[in-house]
């Protein structure tokens, strides 16, 4: 609640503080539709420009058509696995930071995804604020590795 009150006074995080008219473009890739829909709503409310992909292929299609600042990617997906999608994204846009957000969190998968070039790693369920912080730092730092 205290966070909510503070939020009212601050600039919405979805806009670049340096360029107020620049909106941060996010791509959410996850086959849990309800989850990313809700997440997208919350992010849009914070002025982010959000695109949703309900599968890895869809994510790849979207990335072909448009540019994004940050990607939030689930690892465990049907058909095309998150790690493979991550590798494809790396080839398509080497500078694009990807944050892994998965329910199958373990040290092993975290290590694997970070070694494959993910910007950061979060386990579901996560605190929304933590996700926001990671998105912002990913946007600001670009694709510099943090480990």
């Amino acid at each position: 609640m205290t966070a909510n009150r503070k939020m009212k006074k601050e600039r919405p995080p979805g806009q670049d503080p340096r360029w107020p008219y620049r909106t941060i473009r996010l791509l959410l890739v996850d086959d849990e539709a309800t989850f990313i829909d809700t997440l997208a709503n919350r992010l849009k409310k914070r002025r982010f420009k959000v695109s949703r992909a309900y599968s890895g292929q869809e994510g790849i299609q979207l990335l072909k058509k448009a540019e994004y600042d940050v990607v939030v990617l689930d690892l465990k997906m049907e058909i095309l696995d998150g790690i493979d999608v991550l590798k494809i994204f790396q080839k398509m846009a080497p500078d694009l930071p990807v944050i892994i957000l998965t329910a199958r969190g373990s040290e092993k998968t975290a290590e694997e995804s970070l070694s494959c070039g993910a910007f950061d790693y979060l386990s579901k369920p996560c605190e929304f604020e933590d996700l926001l912080t990671k998105i912002m730092s990913a946007y600001h730092t670009g694709k510099e590795p943090t480990d």
Partner: protein
């Protein structure tokens, strides 16, 4: 051994049987064959020896007889009938012969064709003696020369006669000489073979022609048996073995003398003849028996040892299998837990985001027009709190499953213990058991298998909770460390372990829990795991006061164990 004694008894029996069969059978077979061959060879040799001996003596005796015959023939042919008729001349010849051949010639006589002795030289008064009815005379007339059987005759002393027929004109006369029996007897009397062997001569009627060294009964059919083999006449030497009387078995060897009139017989006690053979047989049998005894003893000992080893190995394998099953169970639980945790994470994440989204939306509402906005916010925050609690649970489960990995890796014992306490708290709460932990911060990391460590501590904690299931109580968990060891102390305030059981609690399959409740393996597995790490487990217990387990795990042993690598 304890679980299937029948199996091991039969296994042992089979082993003993196999060893005996393989070792003893050839031994017996070989011994039998060798003994048989040896027996046969020895008998052959013995027989051959006897035959050779008897042949030699036959030549001697035949030679002696022929010599006497030749002498008489020489005398008869050298002088005329008329010369020999002269008693003085005859006496002179006898004296010469007696001088030449001491003790052989007893007397000399000239007998007419009619059987009347017309000249005699000798110690007896036998002039004019009529021999016409004498057996020797009849035979001497029929043949050219003749040597009679030994007989008592007129003088009542054993003797025999050598007679030579000569022609004088158209009539025949006979020169005869009496051969002293003693001279002849000494030829064979002194022949001794072994201890019981002796030589004697019988005629065709089986009458003794020489005196045997030992008085033996007359063998009625000896001549026939030794000279014919199933009706077929033998060449000239026969050998038989038979029971001659109740005194035992004898070997007879016989050779014909005097063109088959006489038989030179060698008789030897079989027991004496085969003394060496019997000794060899006895020795062989003794060695065979000793060998068998040694084989049986060895088979018995080896089988006992082997079966004991097998039983031990079976026992170990059994134990190991059960340990594998126990570890496997834990791993399966871990996998299941991980699966559930992952599945639950997604819905919980959605719940959390939905609550957050609702909070986002509530922010847009006017608090004045919406009366219960504060309650909504509180409830949503509570939903998020409960979702966080779910997350804690799933992450503990994931942590647990991660530690089912049995490869050694750096493990912080405190974290492990906290995980276990967290996992066991709920179960403990139902039994009224509370945890108290005193975990020192300066505990070094250990390079151990987290799964095994987890198994050890979980087992200890579960045992403590089980012990206090009905009564409730407290479990104190403390960690300390010194330079060498990290020590974990787990004490409960349960009923304690009686002294009689205390020594056995680490034994496999020892349990005081009801059938089906416990395998009795938990503590033995713990002991094995800690022992493998070079550590030790102490237990201290007082009935009605509680039990304390102290587990000491070496620090250095673990760091050095890093070198050789995993597993």
């Amino acid at each position: 051994m304890l679980s299937k004694p029948k199996y091991y008894v039969s296994l042992r029996r089979k082993m003993v049987t196999a060893i005996l069969l393989v070792a003893c059978a050839p031994l017996f077979l070989l011994s039998g064959v060798i003994l048989r061959q040896f027996n046969h060879a020895f008998r052959e040799k013995m027989h051959a020896h006897l035959v050779e001996l008897i042949q030699k003596h036959r030549q001697n005796i035949d030679g002696f007889l022929n010599e006497q015959l030749n002498i008489i023939r020489y005398v008869a042919s050298s002088y005329t009938f008329d010369q020999l008729r002269d008693e003085a001349f005859l006496q002179q010849q006898l004296s010469r012969l007696q001088q030449q051949f001491t003790g052989v010639f007893e007397d000399l006589g000239v007998v007419e064709e009619s059987g009347l002795q017309i000249a005699y030289a000798g110690p007896l008064k036998l002039l004019k003696a009529d021999y016409s009815q004498a057996d020797w005379f009849q035979k001497a007339v029929a043949r050219q020369t003749y040597i009679s059987d030994v007989f008592l005759g007129l003088r009542g002393r054993p003797h025999f006669i050598v007679a030579v027929r000569q022609a004088h004109g158209d009539r025949h006369w006979i020169l005869r000489a009496t051969i002293d029996f003693r001279a002849f007897n000494t030829l064979v009397e002194n022949l001794r073979i072994g201890r019981t062997g002796m030589v004697f001569i019988v005629n065709q009627e089986n009458a003794f022609q020489t005196r045997p060294a030992i008085n033996i009964p007359v063998q009625r059919t000896l001549y026939a048996r030794l000279t014919a083999d199933g009706g077929v006449p033998r060449p000239d030497t026969g050998i038989i073995e038979e029971v001659s009387d109740s005194s035992g078995k004898y070997i007879f060897a016989g050779a014909t003398l005097k063109n088959g009139d006489w038989l030179l017989v060698c008789q030897q006690d079989a027991a004496d003849a085969y003394q060496d053979l019997h000794f060899a047989v006895k020795t062989t049998i003794l060695i065979l028996l000793l060998g068998c005894f040694a084989i049986i003893t060895t088979a018995w000992l080896i089988s006992r040892r082997f079966v004991f080893r097998i039983a031990e190995a079976d026992h170990e394998v059994d134990l190991m299998n059960r340990q594998v099953v126990e570890t496997g169970k834990l791993a399966a639980i871990g996998e299941l837990a991980a699966g559930i945790a992952h599945e639950i994470n997604n819905p919980v994440a959605i719940m959390m985001e939905k609550a957050g989204w609702m909070q986002d939306l509530l922010e847009e509402e006017n608090p004045k027009t919406m009366r219960n906005i504060e309650e909504f916010n509180l409830s949503l925050e509570e939903i998020k709190n409960q979702a966080r609690r779910c997350k804690d649970i799933t992450y503990k489960l994931l942590g647990f499953s991660r530690k089912t990995d049995s490869r050694p890796q750096p493990v912080h014992i405190n974290t492990l213990l906290e995980d276990i306490i967290a996992l066991s708290t709920d179960r403990a709460r139902y039994s009224g058991v509370v945890f108290h932990k005193t975990l020192r911060d300066d505990i070094p990391e250990l390079n151990v298998s987290p799964a095994e460590m987890q198994q050890v501590f979980l087992n200890m904690v579960n045992n403590a909770v089980d012990a206090m299931e009905k009564t409730g109580g407290r479990i104190d968990i403390a960690t300390t460390s010194d330079e060498e060891y990290v020590s974990v102390e787990i004490s409960d305030s349960g009923p304690g372990i009686p002294k009689s059981d205390l020594g056995r609690i680490f034994e496999p399959f020892y349990t005081t829990k009801p059938v089906g409740k416990g395998t009795g393996l938990g503590l033995s597995i713990c002991y094995g795991i800690i022992n493998k790490l070079g550590g030790q487990i102490d237990v201290e217990s007082e009935v009605d006061k509680g039990t304390t387990f102290r587990i000491h795990i070496p620090i250095r042993g673990q760091t050095s164990a890093e070198g050789p690598g995993v597993n």
